[in-house]
Amino acid sequence: MTATATPKTKRALRALPLRCRNCGVERGAAPLAICEQCLGPLDPVYDPQRPLPDPATIAARPPSLWRYREWLPFEGDPLYSEDSGFTPLVAAPALARRLGVAGVWIKNDTVCHPSLSFKDRVVAVAINAAAAFQLDTVGCASTGNLANAVAAHAARAGLTAWVFIPEELEAGKVVGTSIYGPKLVRVRGTYDDVNRLCAQVADRFGWGIVNVNLRGYYGEGSKTVAYEIVEQLGWRCPTAVVAPMAGGSLLSKLRKGFGEFLEAGLVRGTSPRLYGAQAAGCAPIVRLVERGGSTIEPEVPHTIARSLAIGNPADGVFAARAMWESGGWAAAVSDDALIEGIRLLAEDVGVFAETAGGVTVAAALALARAGRLRPDDEVVLCVTGHGLKTVEAVTGVLPEAPLIAARLREVAALVERTP
């Protein structure tokens, strides 16, 4: 008798209820990201009694971020974006030598699916939240990567997407959004102007703006970077993680993610020291970390690292807290240094990152020079977006390739001249 595969019946998808991080008030699941009482951020509430998988169970699941579904904000099975996440963790011994540490790994979200940045993680969660709430329109305010991700995931889910971006963005980010057929809108001004507009749009139109009213669910997708690092290192934590900061959410979610796996007993030891990286032309979180205090001072961005150019970062204070509490720090780097960082990463590791990746590498070098990294450190650098999205950053600094006729003697002459 031939065995036939029985299609697995999907369990109905339901979003988890929410609790205010500031005042603790709880409310039912809703496309709402701020507390109606104190306007603090709402986070999903997980049942502390839920059964949790062991490492072997997780390792046997399909290679996507949904292998950690017990820590994602739903009951039931995801409907969309089942292939996002579980990107490679790439050993980088040459970078380890440069940094003077025991080991370096690149968390390579330049190959996150489907849109080649870590924003595929958060949008995979948000698009399922939109489905759970039966919303037929999603949207975002974006510096580029999120625009790509929302447009791509919405296309696959058959949802309408309204995507708002600042007028000055790299061609790859614009084309990499419009190709999916969203309603793409360019807004005069900076990302912060776009963000303000989208807060009003979410309030007015009732759409699922992923980083506004779906934000409490959306942000949970970032935790999967931490889970994957732990699993891919053989169920252990690195001692330090360096990650880029725009709104600051990734830093606070890394802290939460490592903490959840430690609490679940999936990994022993201590949570890594977290280091945040920004471009000096837009570094409000770095400056808060260095200055101390509890208030972000907004900035007007002036940097080619447009994906990090958020002058008024919503999670800046939470990110700073994650860095202080973990024993980490922050660093800001010049545009020249970030370009050099992109080249180093490509030449040392074979990974082509966008500007934010250059910021992360350059910040790691700056932190090492400042004595923030130790010789026995095992460091993971979060590289969050693909370099083909921001080719403008490096086009002018790379050597021009020689042009020759198709003759062997011309190759021989080249070889002769090439050091």
Binding site: I34, C38, L39
Partner: protein, 91 residues
């Protein structure tokens, strides 16, 4: 000085449902104190107990983040428009 204040729905609920209200004062801080006196439930969501801007909202004066213009000390003029936006958004 009389200015127009636009509230998000989460705050309008604390102001009798009105999304747009008028306020008076010479500075943004005075205008918000005026609203706090008239709408006691709205007050603590606009200013903290020391009279400083409440940290979970951002104030825009004629579409510009008022933190670039002195915060609550920013002067306001007749016809100015202030928009209050929840701070937790974006990124």
């Amino acid at each position: 000085m009389s200015i127009t204040v636009n509230l998000p729905s989460v705050l309008a609920a604390h102001a009798g449902g009105a999304r747009t209200i008028q306020a008076t004062g010479r500075t943004l801080g005075e205008a918000m104190a005026d609203l706090a006196a008239r709408f006691p439930a709205l007050g603590p969501r606009l200013q903290d107990k020391d009279g400083n801007p409440y940290p979970f909202v951002v104030f825009y004066l004629n579409d510009e983040d008022v933190r670039f213009h002195g915060g609550f000390a920013a002067p306001v003029a007749d016809g100015d428009e202030v928009t209050v936006i929840p701070a937790i958004a974006g990124g």
